[in-house]
């Protein structure tokens, strides 16, 4: 009986070289997995670092552009200031108008335009184009919407 049992165990025992290979395979699999994770981590980290650097540069660029805008605006105001415009007008041969020289014309429906500074603020009040739902809803919400709408778009 004992001899039969030993025969059966022998029949199912792996060959030693097979066991070694399995261990090596498992180790290599672990090694490859770890290397892949490390590579992925490195890639993400590198991308994040590059993005971070881009953010820093963009932030600096935004500040620079804001300063340039303010400088240009002030420069433009300098060039169109009352004193400068009056001097230029006189140089070009213009003179102040007298009350009797003015002609008034009624233009039905004419409304004097508002200055650009006020119009720019009003433009910003126009409703912003809403983001498509594809960018905002989750997959479950999308399923829910599709089910409720019966699949019709």
């Amino acid at each position: 009986m004992q001899g039969q049992a030993t025969q059966i165990i022998h029949a199912y025992k792996q060959a030693p070289w097979r066991v070694q290979r399995q261990w090596i395979g498992a180790f290599l699999l672990f090694l490859i997995g770890a290397a892949m994770i490390a590579a992925l981590y490195l890639d993400v980290t590198a991308r994040a670092a590059v993005a971070g650097r881009d953010i820093q540069e963009l932030r600096y660029e935004i500040t620079t552009i804001q300063r340039e805008n303010a400088d240009l605006e002030t420069r433009l105001a300098d060039l169109t200031s009352t004193a400068v415009m009056q001097r230029r007008a006189v140089e070009l041969g213009y003179r102040p108008v007298q009350p009797g020289e003015l002609d008034y014309v009624a233009v039905p429906g004419f409304v004097a335009p508002e200055p650009a500074i006020l119009l720019s603020a009003k433009d910003a009040l126009f409703p912003v184009q809403p983001q498509p739902t594809e960018y905002t809803q989750s997959l479950l919400e999308w399923f829910d919407e599709r089910i409720k709408s019966g699949g019709a778009r």
Binding site: G52, T74, R75, A77, D78, S81, Q86, A106
Partner: protein, 578 residues
């Protein structure tokens, strides 16, 4: 043999494990040592920096979108001491470019505390100078010359006023510490300045995070009309020269809504050089005399006395008064401005000839309760509530005050013993030009923030008189101005107004030689669209308002109708009928 190898292997493994363990133990030891804490804190110090982000100060525009106050970039010029190679040449170059002495710069570079990494040489350096220095730095760098190594420029904003002294009394100014003084800059300092935010900026790009958005200061749009302001200031300057007056103010307001279209006062200041403040003004109340200085206005206040009398029914335009040249009120004799008697007058005549005796009689007829009740309702002795800092409230003595005497009832009726600001008078009289409704004067037209526009609504400060009274008095003042052939008239336009010549109170009674002259007027009478108040301090060519302030009013009215596109009455009626 095999067992021998196994033992050796075990010994080697154990040895290596021990070495590894020792390394790990040492790592842990180093990480937790006292020195490690020092190094960590040093590392943290250089890992980034706290930075205060100051939002760009909001701009200020006139009602037509002309920039009155903006911002421009200036630089802090400094030197990183660890990078500096040659303090001699650095001091020489910076001294030359920045207008400093060699010693001044050299001392800063060499005598700074040892812990300092960076030293500021000069702040608020203009862009042109910095650009020149940058070019020089570039040339030296190209030539591998390290003389300017360590030189750094940090940009930041500085307030800038493109119109220099235009509307300076209204705008106020901002000092280098970013705080607004006087006028709009002080009144709306918090709105204009915005909220600075402190942020941590890491040097490690991996740790870079989104910086919270720091909204800029609120942009303000004023009710001022830049072109009218320039004209009015020019007229005021000319008037001071022509009539030898010390100082003056002119305000132009829309009586329908209280919008200040122009507010000129002297002296004006170049807002880009606010260091001149102390040489121009003795105290803050002089900065904008239109709102900051109260004075006895004299006869312009007769408009209010007459309004009160008409509204209470004490008099009607046709009421006759026999002027004997004097009247006794509270035991004191009051006389006319020329000490003459003017005989029989109706109420228009009383206004036309500006009779003190008639006005004292009217106030006496009304009685103290009614008279002072109306003066209170007209806002005398109270702030107008204009959105400018530094407003004075003047003084209206009323019965019960320790320094009120019965004669004040008579003298207050023609503008003595009561002090007001130019703006208070304008606000009070706006009720007559605006169908009984008194407007609250304001300078702010709209605010712009985050792309939204917030308009400032007009506010009314009550209706001290009825619309009927306002119409009646409007007409009376127009007639009195026409019959007086006043120099205040403007051909083609029917205007209403009143002169005011006031003696100046001193510690020893009234100054016998000097006067304050004023004029209040508005037009067109049938549809008032502008209202003007003029105050000239101590004119020397003439002491009378009719010869000084009145012609100035005419000039201001002429420019106002041109710049506000108000056609002459005849043309206007034609246009309306079309």
């Amino acid at each position: 043999m095999r067992q021998q190898y196994a033992v050796r292997s075990l010994i080697i493994v154990a040895g290596l494990a021990l070495v590894g363990l020792a390394v790990i133990v040492q790592i842990i030891h180093i990480q937790n040592s006292e020195q490690a804490m020092v190094f960590l804190s040093q590392g943290d110090r250089y890992a980034g920096e706290f930075s205060m982000v100051y939002p760009e100060r909001g701009e200020i525009y006139d009602r037509n979108g002309h920039l009155l106050a903006g911002n421009r970039t200036v630089y802090e010029v400094g030197v990183s001491l660890s990078e500096m190679v040659n303090p001699d040449s650095m001091a020489y170059i910076l001294g030359t470019y920045l207008g400093l002495t060699y010693e001044e710069v050299y001392n800063k570079l060499t005598q700074s505390p040892e812990s300092w990494e960076y030293v500021v040489i000069q702040d608020y350096v203009g862009a042109v100078t910095v650009e020149s220095l940058r070019e020089l730095m570039q040339q030296l760098n190209d030539a591998d010359d390290p003389r300017l190594n360590g030189l750094a420029f940090k940009p930041h904003f500085q307030r800038s006023y493109p119109e220099n002294d235009l509307a300076s009394n209204v705008l106020g100014f901002v000092t280098r510490d970013g705080r607004g003084y006087f006028g709009i800059e002080e009144k709306y300092n918090d709105l204009l300045a915005g909220n600075p935010v402190q942020i941590w900026v890491p040097r490690d790009p991996y740790k870079a995070t989104e910086i919270p958005r720091v909204p800029g200061g609120t942009t303000l749009v004023l009710t001022l009309n830049r072109d009218l302001q320039a004209k009015v200031e020019s007229i005021l300057e000319q008037a001071l020269i022509q009539y030898g007056a010390q100082n003056g103010t002119i305000i132009v307001m829309d009586p329908r809504n209280g919008e200040i279209l122009s507010m000129a006062a002297t002296p004006r200041m170049d807002l880009n050089n606010y260091d001149n403040y102390f040489s121009l003004y003795d105290n803050g109340s002089q900065y904008n005399r239109s709102i900051g200085m109260a004075y006895e206005p004299g006869s312009v206040i007769k408009v209010l006395t007459m309004a009160a009398a008409l509204d209470t029914g004490t008099v009607v335009p046709e009421t006759t008064f026999i002027d004997t040249g004097s009247i006794e009120v509270g035991g004191i004799t009051i006389q006319n401005w020329n000490r003459d008697s003017w005989g029989q007058q109706n109420m228009i005549g009383c206004l036309q000839h500006s009779l003190n005796v008639c006005m004292a009689w009217i106030s006496s007829q009304m009685g103290t309760q009614a008279f002072y009740g109306y003066m209170e309702r007209f806002g005398l002795g109270h702030a107008t509530g204009i959105d400018l800092s530094g407003e004075a409230i003047g003084r209206l003595k009323v019965p019960g005050d320790g320094d009120w005497y019965p004669v004040d009832l008579g003298t207050n009726a023609f503008g003595q013993g009561v002090s007001v600001t130019s703006l208070q008078m304008l606000m009070a009289v706006s009720s007559i030009a605006n169908e009984g409704k008194m407007v609250t004067p304001h300078v702010l037209y709209a605010m712009l923030r985050d792309g939204h526009q917030y308009n400032v609504p007009s506010q009314y400060a009550g209706s001290p008189i009825s619309a009927q009274t306002a119409h009646t008095l409007n007409e009376m003042l127009a007639i009195s101005l026409e019959q007086e052939s006043s120099q205040a008239l403007l051909p083609g336009y029917r205007l209403a107004g009143k002169t005011g010549t006031a003696q100046i109170p001193t510690d020893y009674g009234y100054d016998p030689f000097h006067t304050n002259v004023s004029f209040i007027g508005w037009g067109p009478v049938d549809d008032p669209q502008f209202m003007v108040y003029i105050w000239l301090q101590t004119p020397t060519t003439s002491i009378w308002s009719s010869e000084t302030a009145a012609p100035v009013f005419s000039e201001v009215a002429e420019q106002t109708v041109i710049l506000l596109n108000i056609p002459p009455d005849a043309v206007r009626s034609q246009l309306v009928n079309k």
